[in-house]
């Protein structure tokens, strides 16, 4: 496994050398460095070269370029995985251009293109940007997070022409199950791909724009549905952000429910990926075998959590659903090994099929350095030897107590990715068993969790119940401290409930980080 080592303190010392007026604030998990605009390029050079630091994201806040009103703030999020920390650099963009960051950190290119579409500022390269988010018909009045560009992109690659002996092989946006609606225009003269045009605007729904001024509960609803095959992952990420902002800490049993759901999500996505590999290699029998496993896993999701794609599991401050009561957990323990065994047997047969293995070996090779510069994560990055895994590198409960084994391979090709996914599927089965053994339940905080926090901070008389907070539309019903949340009638559901809650039951109420102030 490639060593991932980075000393956040050392990086900050170097930043201070190249950006003498940088203001640095250490908040524990996140270090924020305000970098003057003229020093940004040098700082990005430094961070892009630092081993173990990877550019995770880049975005801007609203403002007015060109010196009118508040400036646009350009933020870059760097993951210092070895230190379980993030470094956030902030720089004001006074003009309509900023340094060409993707020349230094290629991972920034997609964000540069989107930032131009949404906020009208661009890197000072003069080279063409791609149209990535907004559809071609998006005029000046199209909903944007910021301001439209004063000039249209010089080249948007749509329409475009391919000259010489090459042709463009159109792939997507309508694709098979498990693949997003992306268009890849693969420019090739036959075997080798020499260029690619990527358009992702076909299903643009403006989710970020729609999220503005909505409640956290609504935000979670949207986040789950941003990409339906990652409902748990995206929902958990959104909930974690809301929890960090409000000081909520989910109960351990609810955290383990999230963990079970997340591992199930990874399992079925890996099964779908195996099926997709079989389809692309023309092995329909193998595809069917993998899809049998996929269907079994989806049915398992529905039985355990009430939804084949695990919607509605994550709640802000907890988990809305869990494999509860005991018969459901027993069924999960019985049926999960069967479904995984189905996938494993299919994979073993695939690995003994030369025509399949030959198509994967030495195909799509990426080096670890390429993966790091491109900011790759997931099985693709781990198949190059990079040991990046958010569950391990930035652990939240339940992974802090039960760290997953990070699977890597050194080949960097599709076969290495196949092996990584198989090993990760086995690890997911192990983790699910571990979480169930420790206890996984459903619990969400009261609808008005700020009021609940005040209740928790007030001394309680023994045996007395607290008045239920008012219920607002779309929110979970309140729970009385010391009583469980009643279900809406469906099994496994901790939300909704009757207008009165039963007495005499135990529950796991969320706790609050004492260092976090209540937000308004």
């Amino acid at each position: 496994m490639t060593a991932v080592q980075a000393d956040a303190r050392g990086i900050l010392d170097e930043i201070a050398l190249v950006a003498r007026k940088a203001a640095i604030r250490d908040d524990g998990d996140v270090i924020t460095a305000q970098i003057p605009g003229p020093d940004l390029e040098a700082v990005v050079h430094l961070l892009a070269a630092a081993p173990g630091a990877r550019l995770a994201h880049m975005f801007v806040s609203d403002g007015q370029p060109g010196g009118e009103g508040e400036p646009v703030i350009l933020r870059l999020v760097w993951a210092v995985d070895g230190q379980q920390r993030y470094l956030l650099t902030e720089s004001a963009v006074e003009a309509e251009t900023y340094p060409p960051l993707s020349d230094i950190a290629p991972a920034a290119f997609h964000e540069e293109c989107e930032i131009y579409e949404q906020f009208g500022i661009r890197p000072a390269t003069g080279r063409p940007l791609n149209r990535v988010v907004l559809p071609p018909h998006a005029g000046p009045d199209f909903p944007r997070l910021g301001h439209p560009p004063t000039q249209p992109p010089r080249e948007v690659h749509a329409p475009h022409t391919v000259g010489g002996q090459a042709f463009e092989f159109p792939f997507g946006p309508v694709r098979q199950v498990g693949a997003e609606s992306l268009y890849y225009g693969l420019v090739t003269s036959g075997e080798e791909i020499v260029d690619v045009h990527v358009f992702i605007w076909h299903k643009h729904r403006g989710v970020e724009w729609r999220l503005r001024e909505r409640s956290p509960a609504d935000g979670l609803f949207f986040a789950e549905r941003m990409e339906g095959l990652s409902a748990v992952a995206n929902g958990w990420a959104f909930a974690a952000a809301a929890e960090a902002a409000t000081g909520l800490l989910p109960p351990e049993t609810a955290a383990r429910s999230r963990g079970v759901a997340l591992e199930l999500e990874q399992l079925y996505n890996h099964a779908a990926a195996v099926a997709a590999l079989c389809q692309t290699t023309g092995l329909s029998v193998g595809q069917s075998a993998a899809e049998i496993a996929l269907e079994q896993l989806l049915r398992l999701n529905a039985a355990a959590f009430g939804h084949r794609y695990l919607f509605g599991v994550v709640g802000i401050g907890g988990a809305r659903r869990a494999p509860d009561p005991a018969p459901l957990r027993r069924d999960l323990r019985r049926d999960l090994p069967r479904a995984y065994g189905e996938l494993r047997r299919a994979a073993d047969s695939l690995l003994s099929t030369n025509s399949f293995v030959d198509r994967l070996e030495a195909t799509g090779v990426l080096s670890a350095e390429q993966a790091r510069l491109l900011g790759l994560v997931g099985p693709v990055a781990r198949a190059t030897g990079l040991g990046v895994d958010a569950r391990h590198d930035h652990p939240a409960s339940p992974y802090a107590a039960a760290p997953p084994a990070v699977v890597t391979r050194a080949g960097g090709d599709v076969l290495a990715r196949f092996h990584v996914m198989l090993a990760e599927a086995a690890e997911s089965v192990r983790l699910i068993g571990q979480f169930l053994d420790a206890g996984a339940g459903a619990a969400v905080p009261a609808a008005n969790w700020i009021a609940a926090r005040r209740h928790q901070q007030e001394p309680a008389s023994a045996g007395q119940s607290r008045p239920a907070a008012s219920r607002s539309p779309g929110s979970s019903s309140t729970t009385r401290v010391g009583s469980p949340a009643r279900g809406c009638g469906r099994p496994r559901c901790a939300t909704g409930g009757a207008s009165t809650t039963p007495a005499g039951h135990e529950t796991c109420s969320p706790t609050f980080r004492s260092s976090k102030p209540a937000s308004g």
């Binding site: 039985a303 099929t353 539309p473 469906r490």
Partner: protein, 113 residues
């Protein structure tokens, strides 16, 4: 390829008999709600119309219009009005006319409450 032949023989046919026979896994699926009209107050109807993300629920005077065809079975209405909106338990909702998917639920009048 012999390995795949044996793999298939061992696995057998896994295709279900649905619709000739019910598929038990359907019991685990979310379904569009049904509403208890006798408890549908004006306030609850407003709440339901506000919470539905696909506009399958909307007010029309003294009626809550419920478009089953627009429902995604997300369950937010059931959370917002538990006991009034309950899981319908049905997902075999094919009809021959689009209009048959639109239900009009009269609101409980104050005089009858």
């Amino acid at each position: 390829m012999a390995a795949w032949f044996l793999h298939g023989l061992r696995r057998g046919i896994v295709t279900t008999r649905y619709p000739a026979r019910p598929d038990s896994s359907a019991d685990d699926l979310p379904t569009p709600p049904r509403f208890r009209a006798g408890e549908m107050t004006d306030e609850i109807a407003e709440r339901l119309a506000a919470v539905c993300p696909s506009q399958a629920l909307r007010r029309d005077g003294g009626v809550l219009v419920y478009d089953v065809g627009g429902c995604t079975a997300c369950g937010r209405c059931e959370e917002a009005a538990p006991g009034v909106a309950v899981p319908g338990g049905q997902f075999e909702l094919a009809v021959t006319s689009r209009a048959d998917l639109v239900k009009r639920i009269p609101l409980r009048s104050e005089a009858s409450s």
